[in-house]
């Protein structure tokens, strides 16, 4: 029997507002434990939550960017459960009125573009962080993270392969990164993903029993975990067993999913409206303003780069992977309007530098004008392509201004006819055999002579110019 995998993803995104969702503590994790806390986020008796406007704004932005309907009513509910990282014994979340619902996002699949539905996106508060000490079997709690604003984005069960899940996450992260509402860093925990996985005989419309996968620390771990889980479920069904609905933890080192708690299904969260946060009707003007303030999104930017700058899809796709890079591209173009050349430099040498340094564009001290000037020097043959790349690397290593580097390193190419001809004449004299071959029609030997001349000039000659001059010289003879 052939099976089909059905996957829905739940993505938790930490929002990078200055302050927490219900209090004015700094929204910073990683400081000294329990320093960014107050009676509200510690859930001390008598404290009360007050909604951070900015969080609502970010939630609306996320909803709009995913083509969702925005809820006209803003309402928060309590999700009740006991856990030491949850200081109030309940999490403030949104149950029946998520801020956004019924959206979608497109992914590229083998069969072309595929639209993945977004069931809902809702706002909630993050819990604290437990730090387990295995040596003395104790657990410490850092409440700095409690009250960090989260938006949970739930997809429809539209994904059919682990690769599609990976592509969905990639597409989602790209859109979210354009909104500047989160660091979107899975390793640092600002983006977390749980997967609901079930399988069914191909052609069936009824969903199989699902399991929930947690503890994946990267997009590729999500892909691996889903692949593993689908095969595990298939094995169970094929041997006549039944899938148990449960939560499983992905163990990346051992590459297996393991049950988390046995009585998971008995959880009853007893959701009810939080009486401390009175529901209110969202001013439609707010949503309109948020829509107008939305940045150009990746798909829009892609079409514009292709249409306006005549970039090919390949180049444009690379450039839009990073909103900063795309902005940088456009800034360079204003100074040196050759889109293809700029794209080559961005997608080649610049990305290489970024990868090597494991940093992003804003970490580099690089102005568009500097790169544009560099490209221009290469294109006008003042320096060679190779020297250009080296100059960029040196520049980023803070070896002085571009001009200084080119001068000090002697990158400037010699294009002066007189100087070059002196060398060329020496080369022609020293290589009579080659000269004879060219004269007999083997013009490709010219390259050899260019190489010889370049050697004598220690690589500083303009190769194009050399070629021209040698050819000219031989024709005149």
């Amino acid at each position: 029997m052939e099976f089909e995998t059905v996957i829905g993803l739940e993505v938790h995104l930490q929002l990078n507002t200055c302050t927490k969702i219900f209090c004015s503590c700094r929204n910073l994790f990683g400081d000294q434990p329990n320093t960014n806390v107050c009676p509200v986020c510690l859930g001390l008796p008598g404290s009360l939550p007050v909604l951070n406007r900015k969080v609502l704004d970010f939630g609306i932005r996320v909803g709009l960017a995913l083509d969702c309907e925005i809820s006209p009513l803003v309402k928060f509910d309590r999700k009740n459960y006991f856990y030491p990282d949850l200081p109030k014994g309940y999490q403030i979340s949104q149950f029946d009125f998520p801020i956004a619902r019924k959206g979608h996002i497109s992914i590229k699949s083998s069969a072309g573009d595929k639209r993945i539905g977004i069931t809902r996106a809702h706002l909630e508060e993050d819990a604290g962080k437990l730090i387990h000490n295995d040596q003395n079997r104790s657990t410490l709690v850092d409440y700095n993270r409690t009250g960090t604003p989260l938006v949970e984005i739930v997809s429809d069960p539209d994904l059919r392969t682990a690769q599609e899940a990976y592509d969905y996450l990639t597409a989602l992260k790209l859109v979210l990164s354009y909104l500047s509402v989160s660091e979107c860093d899975m390793e640092k925990g600002s983006l977390r993903c749980d997967a609901n996985v079930s399988i069914r005989p191909k052609g069936d419309s009824k969903l199989g029993t699902k399991t929930e996968l947690k503890n994946m620390n990267s997009f590729s771990a999500v892909r691996r975990a889903i692949d593993y889980e689908a095969k595990r479920q298939e094995g169970i069904l094929l041997s006549g067993g039944e899938i148990v609905q449960q939560t499983l933890l992905w163990d990346d080192a051992r590459a297996v999913t393991l049950p988390m708690r046995s009585k998971e299904n008995s959880h009853d969260y007893r959701y009810f409206p939080d009486p401390d946060l009175v529901p209110f009707v969202l001013d439609p003007a707010w949503v309109i303003a948020a829509r107008e303030a939305l940045p150009e999104l990746p798909t829009q930017k892609l079409s514009r780069l292709v249409e306006h700058y005549k970039l090919n899809i390949y180049d444009a796709t690379i450039i839009i992977q990073d909103r900063e890079l795309a902005d940088f591209f456009e800034a360079c173009y204003l100074i040196y309007p050759d889109a293809k050349k700029i794209a080559n430099w961005l997608n080649g040498p610049l990305l290489k530098e970024l990868n090597e340094r494991k940093c992003s564009l804003h970490d580099l001290d690089l102005l568009p004008a500097v790169l544009a000037a560099l490209i221009e020097k290469v294109e006008t043959a003042q320096i060679s392509n190779l020297a250009g790349k080296e100059a960029l690397s040196l520049y980023l290593n803070k070896n002085g201004s571009l001009e200084e580097i080119i001068r000090n390193k002697g990158f400037l190419q010699v294009s002066d006819d007189q100087q070059l001809l002196t060398v060329i004449d020496e080369v022609l004299r020293d290589n009579p055999a080659a000269v004879a071959e060219i004269k007999s029609g083997k013009t490709n030997v010219t390259g050899f002579l260019v190489g010889q001349a370049m050697k004598k000039m220690q690589g500083k000659a303009n190769p194009k110019k050399l070629n021209e001059l040698i050819t000219g010289r031989l024709q005149n003879e």
Partner: protein, 475 residues
């Protein structure tokens, strides 16, 4: 003249005229408080705070043990909060300190305000100063007893279903539950968050207006506090009630009311009519559902509000029994089993039940709908009348132990006070006589949202025409 028996208004005048110093008052009241506390058990503990030197009301005040005072123990009369010191001041405490108030100490109450007699306090019941074999009412019984006994000049309580008004009635003083949202709840340990409201317990209506002036107003830290202006409530104390429309809800005059209570309230209505008010019968049709509705909504909210008391972060932490279960589960269960009293457990279980999946619609959701109907009853009634008058409680103070083993009959002592909380409207209780045992009877007045001025004006007119507020318990 016993200083501790005076009203805040009178003492303020004495200070202003230079006849007496705030220190002398403080000393007299503190002496009185300590001397008779063994008999009233009104104060659970006295605060250790520096003296204030400034402010317009440098008078001692007692606070219910569910109000947070920075660096002081706050216990809600429960063992589970043992050792917990609030690291911040409640909004009302900030207001009091700005006014120069001398915060005396924490007043006894039913554990987490769950009760109508203070008998559920983990530290023993407070006693009624008129008869120490009787309860002072609850849950703000310590607040009412302390004011009535002269252990403090005035006090703050909290009212979720009558917890200010019923003890005020039992102790022969004035208790006001303001409109929901009039006073910030920030720093009040929550019981039923959609019902809780802080309010004054005072010797007379004037003091009630004075204290309301101090504690009212918008607080950005409480999303449910109302951002509307606060009038000077003392300006409402005009005695002028000619043409005032008073409604008598027939659903509040039912079998089972103590006859002396009924007589006293009926006499009060006649007096108001004589003073120029128009009295008419009205109906609040859904009154009979109020107690049931309340015990669903209040316990649902309480079950969630009390989840934070788990032994992990503050308060009491039970020793693990090493039962073979995960240590954290054991910690939760043992801490809560040992830390909460019976009534708290009963309400947590009730609230957990009504929110459980499969029961939510039948209980919580339906109760919310009934709450809306009760609110509408009042809206309609206030189209016809300005003030609704009723008994505060069906009886005067009962004996200690009389109802503690019968939760249902205990719950019914709040039958007339609960509707105002469900509707969010202001209500006041003031003395209107005594029964044959010389126990005070309380008169309740209710008004529409933010009509505290109407309420105070009516109450003041009645009070000034009667001698009840001048009576003091002999203790």
């Amino acid at each position: 003249m016993k200083l501790y028996d005076q009203t805040a208004q009178k003492l303020k005048e004495l200070i202003a005229s230079g006849d007496i110093s705030p220190q002398a008052i403080q000393q007299a009241v503190e002496e009185r408080a300590r001397a008779i506390n063994p008999r009233t058990n009104a104060f659970l503990r006295f605060y250790d705070l520096p003296c204030t030197q400034h402010g317009s009301f440098r008078l001692p005040i007692g606070l219910k043990d569910n109000l947070s005072v920075k660096n002081q123990l706050v216990g809600c009369a429960s063992r589970i909060l043992e050792g917990y010191r609030a690291p911040y001041d409640a909004h009302v405490v900030e207001r009091l300190l700005e006014s120069g108030a001398i915060l005396q100490g924490a007043l006894n109450m039913d554990e987490f305000a769950f009760g109508s007699s203070t008998e559920t306090s983990a530290f023993g019941s407070a006693r009624n100063p008129w008869d120490t074999e009787r309860v002072p009412g609850g849950s703000s019984g310590g607040s009412a007893a302390a004011v009535a006994a002269g252990q403090t000049i005035w006090a703050l309580g909290s009212d979720t279903g009558g917890s200010i008004r019923q003890p005020a009635s039992f102790c022969g003083i004035v208790g006001l539950k303001p409109t929901y949202g009039r006073i910030s709840r920030y720093g009040l340990v929550a019981f039923g968050s959609s019902l809780d409201q802080i309010g004054p317990l005072t010797k007379d209506v004037t003091d009630s207006a004075l204290l309301l002036n101090i504690i009212s107003g918008f607080d950005p830290k409480d999303s449910t506090s109302a951002n509307c202006p606060v009038p000077d409530y003392t300006q409402a104390l005009t005695r002028e009630i000619k043409g005032l429309r008073i409604g008598i809800p027939r659903e509040y005059f039912i079998d089972g009311i103590q006859p002396e209570v009924l007589n006293a309230v009926q006499s009060a209505v006649k007096l108001l009519e004589k003073a120029g008010a128009q009295v008419k019968d009205i109906s609040l049709a859904h009154t009979k559902y109020a107690v049931a509705t309340y015990y669903i909504l209040a316990t649902a909210e309480a079950s969630s509000n009390l989840a934070r008391f788990d032994g992990v972060k503050y308060g009491r932490r039970a020793q693990s029994r090493s039962s073979g279960r995960p240590a954290i589960i054991d910690l939760y269960e043992t801490t809560r089993e040992q830390g909460f009293g019976d009534e708290a457990k009963r309400r947590i279980m009730l609230g957990t039940y009504v929110l459980s999946s499969g029961y939510y619609d039948a209980f919580y959701l339906r109760a919310q709908k009934v709450r809306t109907l009760i609110k509408k009853d009042f809206e309609q009634a206030f189209n016809e009348v300005d003030v609704i008058v009723s008994p505060t409680a069906p009886t005067t103070a009962f004996r200690l132990g009389e109802k503690i083993n019968d939760p249902l009959s205990m719950y019914l002592s709040d039958i007339f006070t609960i509707p105002a909380n469900l509707a969010g409207i202001p209500a006041i209780s003031l003395p209107c006589g005594f029964d044959s045992n010389q126990m005070p009877v309380g008169l309740q007045m209710m008004a529409s949202p933010f009509a505290e001025e109407t309420l105070l004006r009516t109450a003041f007119a009645y009070e000034q025409a009667t001698p009840w507020h001048t009576e003091r318990a002999r203790l």
